[in-house]
Symmetry: C2
């Protein structure tokens, strides 16, 4: 049974969840980020069934996150390489790593440390407003309709009270 | 049938996916960020079944992302408010918004624009290394074992070739 589809919703969260929430998908991408290219590498590292892996890889190629590139002629064999879109998805995983390290790692501490390849120094992931450099804090943000929000939804957007102490207008990502 | 559990894996991505990949969960959190507090608000905004919503809210309370707070005595009625852990989860959704706006929004453009509550200026989400202020780029990062990685996994970590043009050591988040 196909679950509810979120990819057609006018919401970047819903669309990303539709792709990333495909359970194994972010973990397949993780392995690609950490250097996996060949089917068997993904399969051995993740220990998932070949059938499920093949489906996930097909979806990621279809979505232009990975591209299939032949690395051998006879017989033809392919490997999976990150596209620019796929590489940029690491920012989403980085935000997950930051949050997971902070709130889910427990007393054992973070399982993995990211380091700058050139300097070897630990990377301190932050999600910020590039304009001000300040960390993103929902209490300081309101969401307003963007150009991609269908008129009929923009019209029905209700004003809500934002979380936190201050009152303000905020509209929802429909 | 319960899907594969990722919450016990020593990986902050897997743990966050286990929580966030619960399909509706990030969207319930989105509504909380945009001001929803009461069961009916969540239900009307998302249009999901009361049964599924109740499960998701229970999970989020159990995970300390939301807390149940009584707002009425007779009969007792509760609303759901963000905890600090829950509020911080907006950084993960912000990274999704950034990536989704960039790669999935299409010609219509972003459905929603985030603005600074105080200045009204658009927020330009970026995932950066707080130390240097530079955008996170997987080609410049290696993953090394952290304190929370079980010994037996750290021992078997294989060195892999990182994606991108430069060669280097990178180990995987097991």
């Amino acid at each position: 049974m196909r679950r509810t589809r979120f990819d057609t919703w006018p919401c970047s969260i819903a669309r990303t969840v539709d792709l990333a929430g495909d359970w194994w998908t972010p973990l397949v991408m993780r392995e690609a980020f950490y250097g996996a290219r060949r089917f068997d590498e993904f399969q051995q590292r993740l220990g998932l069934s070949r059938n499920v892996l093949a489906q996930r890889l097909d979806r990621l190629v279809e979505e232009d996150m990975l591209k299939r590139v032949p690395y051998q002629d006879r017989p033809v064999r392919h490997e999976y390489r990150l596209t620019e879109k796929g590489r940029d998805f690491f920012t989403v995983l980085a935000a997950m790593i930051r949050w997971g390290d902070r709130w889910l790692a427990g007393p054992a501490g973070p399982p993995v440390e990211l380091r700058d390849r050139a300097t070897g120094l630990p990377v301190d992931i932050a999600v910020v407003d590039a304009k001000t450099g300040r960390p993103i804090d929902i209490r300081e943000i309101v969401a307003t309709p963007g150009p991609g929000l269908p008129q009929e939804l923009a019209r029905t957007l209700r004003k809500t009270t934002a979380p936190g102490s201050s009152q303000g207008d905020s509209t929802r990502c429909e």
